[in-house]
């Protein structure tokens, strides 16, 4: 990686618990030093997971730096791979484009990360806000002055990459991208929950790349079959990570209360103008102050004024899960549906006041369960290669001509994880109504 860092003159450095040091350039430093980027220090990476794993206190700031570093290491691994078929090394602009995209990928995150974004942005996601911020002169002028087109960064992060950026897009937003690579390790390390760990040094040797044979010569990422187990181990790490960290049962209860709490304060939407489903204006001064600290101050203030949800958010109370099941269980699936319907029809229960429910897909592979999403081929088969699926460089042993195939053809783990993910079904109630809810559950499942 040193040669890439030298090429872009990354002469500044900062300590990091995972990588030792993270290096960055003058322009990257200028972005990091903006108040809008510094704000990420005050947005927790894992929202209220800290109420489950007390040391999960790290921020989007350190994750963003980590993704920039990790993306560069992955790119370096691609260009040093023994099977790579790329005629020239990446130029300065390509490396910078990748790094700016990685550094800024979470710039639009709202307080408590994913938990509240739909409320703040009227249904939009933080990516829309990231795109808006990157186009603002406060950020775009720095990128431009470093010779990079801010529109290319926006396009990469908005998932509208031109074909020439296909490989960079895979590194930033692919199935096993730098974002996932960093958060799995970082969240596992800093929360103390070991789910999410995998063999990182070996992972960095995973990817290779090749040029298309056509006139365009665009680059495509691939994995050699000898490294298949590394790719698979990351999926398994992600599976356990999802179940034990972001979708942890107790944390999900706090997420539901947080969403309920914020619903009473529509003024937090004021900085964002959404017209016809598009973010048209953001008060960036106001946005810069809108962080976890501000919401937490509000929670403390409301606690003193007897807001019913504030005690939960200060860890003085918690919701009671009365059913925690998944689509793996037909009985559980049915019980969840029947219980929710029964609670909605019961005069003693009001949704959002006495009970909450959530169904959550446990996505491991992007696009899992959608291989037949739009069409099965005439013979009923899934398409030969699902878009976005990793290519495998395979010989099926030694002495045969290698071929590039969809990784699912050779990996039992990928083949199974790509099927429809299971969904978690949970119903929570306030403590005072727990016994009554359990009675209803007993009735509907009798």
């Amino acid at each position: 990686m040193e040669e890439f860092l030298k090429k872009i003159q990354a002469k500044h450095r900062i300590r990091d618990p995972l990588y030792g040091f993270i290096f960055f350039t003058d322009a990257e430093k200028a972005i990091i030093d903006t108040q809008i980027f510094q704000r990420l220090r005050r947005v927790h990476q894992l929202a209220l997971t800290k109420y489950v794993y007390p040391s999960a206190e790290h921020s989007r700031f350190v994750h963003s730096l980590g993704v920039m570093h990790c993306a560069t290491m992955i790119l370096s691994g691609i260009y040093n791979h023994k099977y790579k078929k790329i005629s020239s090394d990446p130029n300065e602009i390509q490396i910078k484009t990748l790094r700016f995209s990685a550094l800024l990928h979470d710039i639009g995150h709202l307080p408590f990360s994913h938990a509240l974004e739909k409320h703040f942005l009227s249904g939009l996601k933080h990516e829309a806000l990231s795109e808006y911020i990157i186009s603002d002169p406060r950020i775009s002028s720095i990128i431009e002055s470093d010779g990079v087109d801010p529109k290319a960064i926006g396009a990469l992060l908005a998932k509208k990459p031109p074909a020439r950026f296909r490989l960079l897009h895979e590194v930033i937003s692919g199935q096993l991208d730098a974002d996932r690579a960093d958060y799995l390790l970082r969240d596992a390390h800093l929360s103390g929950a070991k789910y999410g760990e995998y063999d990182f040094p070996r992972f960095l040797q995973l990817f290779s790349g090749r040029e298309d044979d056509d006139e365009h010569g665009h680059l495509t990422l691939f994995v050699d079959e000898n490294d298949l187990h590394i790719a698979e181990s990351m999926l398994i790490a992600r599976y356990h990570y999802n179940l034990q960290i972001p979708y942890h049962r107790t944390r999900m209860g706090f997420d539901l209360v947080l969403e309920r709490f914020i619903r009473d304060f529509p003024e937090y939407r004021d900085p964002f103008t959404v017209e016809e489903g598009r973010l048209t204006h953001v008060d960036l001064e106001r946005f810069t102050d809108l962080d976890d600290c501000e919401i937490m101050e509000r929670i403390k203030k409301e606690f003193r004024q007897d807001n019913p949800w504030a005690p939960y958010l200060l860890r003085a109370k918690h919701l009671i899960p009365v059913i925690d099941t998944s689509s793996n269980s037909f009985k559980g699936d049915r019980a969840y549906k029947d219980l929710v319907r029964a609670l909605k029809n019961d005069a003693a229960f009001c949704e959002g006041a006495d009970f909450f429910h959530r169904s959550q897909e446990v996505e491991i592979i992007k696009g899992a369960g959608t291989e037949f999403a739009e069409k099965a081929d005439d013979n009923g088969q899934a398409p030969a290669r699902q878009s976005g699926m990793i290519l495998l460089h395979s010989r099926e042993g030694k002495g045969r001509e290698p071929e590039y195939v969809d990784i699912r053809e050779r990996s039992w783990i990928f083949k199974h994880f790509v099927q429809a993910p299971h969904t978690l079904y949970r119903v929570y109630v306030v403590a005072e109504k727990a016994d009554r809810a359990r009675d209803i559950l007993a009735q509907v499942t009798a």
Binding site: P161, P162, D212, E276, T370, P383
Partner: protein
């Protein structure tokens, strides 16, 4: 607006016009609506058969789970079941959807699978170019299209689709 209200409005408009309620029809037409300013906030990205929204797919699955829609045996198309809990769309939005559907039909040529894939991909490539600040031309769109789809569709078909689409693009 709850995005499911727009989905219901779109499905009813499709049904009224005799268009199939297939997954590809819903994804490609909702993407077209999104580009034209009738948005539910779904995020579309390049996928196996053109632009596709995982959020939309998830929302449709949830509607099936709660018996608001039913997935046909083929798994590729829906039937509307009980959607009475969703209020009807404002008349102006409903009218816009009807008009856009008519135009989208003209652009695609038909609501067959290949025509929808080709129209959706052509629109996506145009939008991708526009988002980079590039000017849009038949040649550039065709190049992007082929970099994504290879030779799956002949140049002539891509160009004709683009020519029909071009007057309606909200960007140049």
């Amino acid at each position: 607006m709850d995005p499911r209200e727009l989905i219901v409005g779109v499905l009813q408009a499709l049904q009224k016009r005799g268009a199939p309620l297939t997954k590809i029809m819903i994804h490609k037409f909702m993407y077209y609506l999104d580009v034209m300013g009738v948005r539910a906030g779904f995020h579309f990205e390049p996928y196996t058969y053109g632009p596709f929204s995982f959020d939309l797919a998830r929302t449709l699955n949830t509607m099936v789970f709660w018996d608001e829609l039913q997935l046909q045996e083929s798994k590729n198309a829906y039937e509307i079941q009980d959607v009475s809990k969703y209020p009807p769309l404002e008349r102006t939005i409903g009218t816009r959807i009807d008009e856009h559907l008519k135009t989208f039909h003209e652009i695609a040529g038909s609501f067959g699978f290949e025509d929808l894939e080709c129209a959706g991909t052509t629109l996506y490539c145009s939008e991708s170019l526009a988002s980079q600040g590039a000017s849009i031309s038949a040649r550039k769109v065709e190049k992007e299209f082929k970099a994504w789809k290879g030779e799956k569709y002949p140049t002539e078909k891509i160009r004709k689709t683009f020519e029909r689409l071009k007057p309606h693009l909200p960007f140049s």
